[in-house]
C-alpha cells in the first residue's frame, strides 16, 4: 500500500510552537470538520507508522471548560473494546487553548462515501457479499454496544467506517459516540440539548414524541442503512421541521408512511401513548396513503430472507423490532455468500472488486485550523474517522461533492489477504472482556431491560433520597 502522505504540512508548521504530545506524530493534513471542531490525519513516527485520525474539541461554546460532548465520548470509548467499534488510541490536552484531541485509528472509508461512489461512479449496486458483510459487522458491533447498555443514537452511513489498511482491510468500525449514552436511566430527547442529527434515520417512536430512547432506535437506523446499501439512496428522505423544541416531524413521517403504510394500534399497541399521535390523527384525515410497499422500493422478493430481515428492522412497534442479537442469527446470514471479515474481498470472489477512492486531505491546514497558503483547488470536507455529530446538514448531504482531480484510485492488496467466514451458529459473538471496574449487569436483567417499552418510565432508576428524616 503506497504512502500518499505529503510532508508539506511539516514545513508550514515549523514556525509554530508544537505541544509536546504532538512530537510523536507527523501531521498530514485536515480531513474534515464539523460542529465541534476539526479532524486531522497524522501518522505515528515510531514503527509501525500507523495512520491516526485526530479529532479536535475546542472549548465548549459557553466557555465552561472542556466540551461535555468530548467528555462523554471519551467516557464511553474508555469503557469498550471491540473489533467493530472505533478504537480511541490516545487523548491529548493542549493547555494553551484548553482543547482536547482524541486520537483514533484511521479508517479510510465510510458507508456514505462508498454508497456515493457506487451511485455516481460505478453505476451499479454493491455486490451481495459486501452488503452482507458490512451489515453483519455493523450488527456485530452494535450487539456489543447494546449488551453493554450503550445506545449510539446517531447511526447513519457517515458514522459507519471501513478500514483501509492492510491489516484490518475491510473491517467495519462504528464511530462517533458524542451522542451515545448508557441507558440505565431515562434519556432526554436530543432536542433538549439543541443537538441536530440527521432525521432520515430517526425511529418513528421518536418522531411521534417518545421521550425514552431504547436500543430499538438504533435498529431502525440499521434498517435504513441496509436499504440504502441496496438502493444507493436514503430510504426515508424527509425534510426536518426545526421550528420549536421537539417539533412534530410531519414530512419525515409522511416519507415513512408512504412506503410502509400507516401504523395501526393493532400492530403497535402503545401508539396511543405517544404525544404526537393525536396530531397525526388529524393529519391522517386529510391524507390518504397508498402504500408503495417496502419490497417495491428495495426490489427484494417478499419471500426472501433479506426482505424478511429488513422488514423486521423496520417494524413500527419498538417492542417487536428485531434486536441486534436476533438479527445476527437471522437466516439471511446463513445463506451463501456467507459474511466475511473483509467486507471488500471475499475468500472466493465471484464479482469484480471495486476500488474506492481515498479521502481528500487538505495539507495546508495546521492544528490551529489556519490555512498557510491558498489551496490550488477547493477540497470538500469529507467524512472522517471519529466523525463529528452534526457534520452533515441537509444541504451538504444533497449536494454532490467535487472530487479532487488528481486523486488516484488506490490499488487494493488482495494477494495474501485471508478472509474467513463466521460460522452461522450459536455463540457467534466474539467475547471481549470488560474493564475490571465496570460492574456487570445480571444477564437476565439485560434481557429484561433491553427492550423497555418506550411509553413507560425507567422504574429501575431510583431518585435520590438525600434528605434526612427528623
Amino acid at each position: 500500500m503506497g504512502d500518499g502522505s505529503s510532508s508539506r504540512s511539516n514545513s508550514s508548521n515549523s514556525t509554530s510552537e508544537k505541544p509536546e504530545w504532538l512530537q510523536q506524530y507527523n501531521l498530514v493534513g485536515k480531513i474534515g470538520e464539523g460542529t465541534y471542531g476539526l479532524v486531522f490525519l497524522a501518522r505515528t513516527k515510531t514503527p509501525p507508522k500507523r495512520p491516526i485520525a485526530i479529532k479536535k474539541f475546542k472549548q465548549s461554546k459557553d466557555g465552561d471548560g472542556v466540551s461535555p460532548t468530548a467528555i462523554r465520548e471519551i467516557m464511553l470509548l474508555r469503557e469498550i473494546s471491540h473489533e467493530n467499534v472505533v478504537k480511541l488510541v490516545n487523548v491529548h490536552i493542549n493547555f494553551a487553548d484548553m482543547s482536547l484531541y482524541l486520537a483514533f485509528d484511521y479508517a479510510e472509508y465510510d458507508l456514505y462515501e462508498i454508497i456515493r461512489h457506487h451511485r455516481d461512479k460505478v453505476g451499479h449496486s454493491l455486490n451481495t457479499y459486501t452488503v452482507k458483510s458490512l451489515l453483519w459487522q455493523l450488527l456485530n458491533g452494535l450487539n456489543y454496544l447494546h449488551s453493554n447498555w450503550i445506545i449510539h443514537r446517531d447511526l447513519k452511513p457517515s458514522n459507519i467506517l471501513v478500514m483501509g489498511d492492510a491489516e484490518e482491510h475491510g473491517i467495519v468500525k462504528i464511530a462517533d459516540f458524542g451522542l451515545a449514552r448508557i441507558y440505565q436511566a431515562p434519556l432526554k430527547p436530543l432536542s433538549d440539548n439543541g443537538v441536530v442529527v440527521t432525521i432520515w434515520y430517526r425511529a418513528p417512536e421518536l418522531l411521534l414524541g417518545s421521550k425514552h430512547y431504547t436500543s430499538a432506535v438504533d435498529m431502525w437506523a440499521v434498517g435504513c442503512i441496509f436499504a440504502e446499501l441496496l438502493t444507493l439512496k436514503p430510504l426515508f428522505q424527509g425534510a426536518e421541521a426545526k421550528s420549536s423544541q421537539n417539533p412534530f416531524q410531519l414530512d419525515q413521517l409522511d416519507k415513512i408512511f408512504k412506503i410502509l403504510g400507516h401504523p395501526t394500534m393493532d400492530k403497535w399497541p402503545t401508539l396511543v401513548n405517544l404525544p404526537h399521535w393525536q396530531n397525526d390523527v388529524q393529519h391522517i384525515q386529510a391524507h390518504k396513503y397508498d402504500s408503495v410497499g417496502l419490497h417495491n422500493v428495495v426490489h427484494l422478493n417478499q419471500k426472501s430472507p433479506a426482505y424478511d430481515l429488513l422488514s423486521k428492522m423496520l417494524e413500527y412497534d419498538p417492542l417487536k423490532r428485531i434486536t441486534a442479537s436476533q438479527a445476527l442469527e437471522h437466516e439471511y446470514f446463513r445463506m451463501d455468500p456467507l459474511p466475511g471479515r473483509n467486507a471488500f474481498v471475499a475468500s472466493q470472489p465471484m464479482e469484480k472488486n471495486v476500488n474506492y477512492p481515498t479521502r481528500p486531505v487538505d495539507t495546508n491546514t495546521d492544528f490551529e485550523g489556519t490555512t498557510s497558503i491558498n489551496p490550488p483547488q477547493a477540497v470538500a470536507a469529507g467524512n472522517v474517522a471519529g466523525n463529528m455529530a452534526g457534520a452533515h446538514g441537509m444541504g451538504s448531504r444533497s449536494m454532490p461533492r467535487p472530487m479532487v482531480a488528481h486523486n488516484m484510485q488506490r490499488m487494493q492488496q488482495s494477494q495474501g489477504m485471508m478472509a474467513y467466514n463466521f460460522p452461522a451458529q450459536a455463540g457467534l459473538n466474539p467475547s471481549v472482556p470488560l474493564q475490571q471496574q465496570r460492574g456487570m449487569a445480571q444477564p437476565h436483567q439485560q434481557q429484561q431491560l433491553r427492550r423497555k417499552d418506550p411509553g413507560m418510565g425507567m422504574s429501575g432508576y431510583a431518585p435520590p433520597n438525600k434528605s434526612r428524616r427528623l
Binding site: 471548560g65 467528555i71 467516557m75 474508555r78 471496574q437 422504574s459 438525600k466
Partner: protein, 460 residues
Amino acid sequence: MDEALNENASGSESDASSVASNLHDDEIIPWFFSREEIERNSPSRRDGIDLKTETRLRDSYCTFLEILGERLKVPQVTIATAIFFCHRFFLRQSHAKNDRQTIATVCMLLAGKVEETPVTLEDVIIASYERIHKKDLAGAQRKEVYDQQKELVLIGEELVLSTLNFDLCISHPYKPLVEAIKKYMVEDAKTQLAQFAWNFVNDCLRTTLCLQYQPHHIAAGAILLAAELPTVDLQSYREVLCQEFDITPCQLEDIRGQILELYERIPTSQESKVESSGGVAVVHQPISRDMASTEKCPSSDIEGGSSQVNLSQSDDHSVHDGSRSEGIGEVNSESEAQKNLQDHSVGNIMVEKSDDVGVVQLKKDLQLHQEEVESKQEKDKKSFEKDITKIDLMDEKDLTESEVEDEINKTMQTGRQIFMKVEDPDDNMTVEHSEIRNANNSGVDDELVADTCLINDSDL
C-alpha cells in the same frame, strides 16, 4: 504494539506504583485497592498529613460538595459522582499540594457534564465562593469573582481530567440496591429496609468504600446493615446477599463494618462504657448470631462490639455534649497542622508528579497564573494581608463547622434508626410522603419525581 495513552500512561505508571504494590504496564489504572493500601500509601501521607487529618479533609470536601449540590440544585447522583471523582483525585494527588475546595469545585463542574445535569461555570464558581466565604454576592461582585476564579477552575479541570486518566464512567450502588430490594425482600419489610439502606449508601459516600469495592457489593453491605435494625432473620439475608451479589461473607462483613465505623467516629467517653452492660442486653441476639454465623471472619467480634457501643451511645444524651466539646478540642489541637497545610494550599494547585509531561505543562501554566496573582497583590499590600487573614479564619471555621455538621448528621442518622425502629405503619406512610417532598426540594426533575412515585406505589 504500544497503544497506551502515552501522555497519561507514564504518569499513571509512576503514580500507580505509589498507591498499589503491582505495577501495571497497560493504560488501565487499577482503581480498586484494599483499605490498608489506601490508608498507608496515600500521596498525602508522604507530605506529613496523617490519617486522621486526611479523614477530616475528606469529610470536609464531602460536606462542601453536598452543600454545593444543594445550591446548584443538581440531583443526588451528580453529587455522588463529584464526590467519587474527588476521592479518586486524592488517591493520586496530595492534599498538601491541592486545595480541596478548588478540586471539589472542579469535580462538581465535571460531574455535571458527565451526568448530563450541566451547571454553568459561573454558577459553580459563585456557589463555591459563597460557600467558602459565607456571604452572598451581588451583581458586580459576581462578575469580579467569576473573572478572578475562572482560569484557575478551568486549569483545574484539565488537571482533574488528567489525574483521573479520563476514566469518567461511574456506577453507584443505588440501582443495584433498588433492584435487589424489589426482587428479594418480603413486602412488609421493603419500605423500612429500603430507606435505611438508601441512607447508608448516601452516608458511606464519605468513606473510601467506593475505592475498595464495586457498587453492587456496597449495596449488599448496606442492605445487610439495614436488615439488622428490624431484627430480622440475618442468616437468610446473608446467604441471599452473598449469592445474589457474588460477594464473599468476609467482604460483606468488611463493608458492613466500614459503614458502621462511620457512625462510630463520635468519640466514646467513660460514661458510655458504664452504659455498655445495658447495650449488651439490648443487642444480645444479633451479636450472638454474628458470632455463630461468621466464625471465619475474626473481625466479626470487633463488629459486634461496635454495634453494642453504637447503640448504647444513642441512649445517653450526655454523650453528645461530651462529644462536641472533645471534637472542638481536637480541632484546636490540630491547629498547627492546619496552619501548615494552609501555607501550602492557599489559592494554588500543584501536582504531585513532575514526570508526567502533561502535568509539567500544567505546572508551568499554574506558575504563570500564580505570578500574575502575586503581581496584582503587590499593588495593594493591605488588601493582600486582609485576604490572608480572612482565608485563614474562614478555613478554620469551615473545618470547625464541618465537624459540627458531621456530628449532627451522625446523630441524626443514629436517632433516625431508633425512631424508625419504633414507628408504626401509619407513621411510615406519612414519612414516605415527606421523603417525596424532600426529593422535590432537592431539585429532582419531574421525570425523576414520577419515577419516585412509580417506585413507591408499586415496589416499595
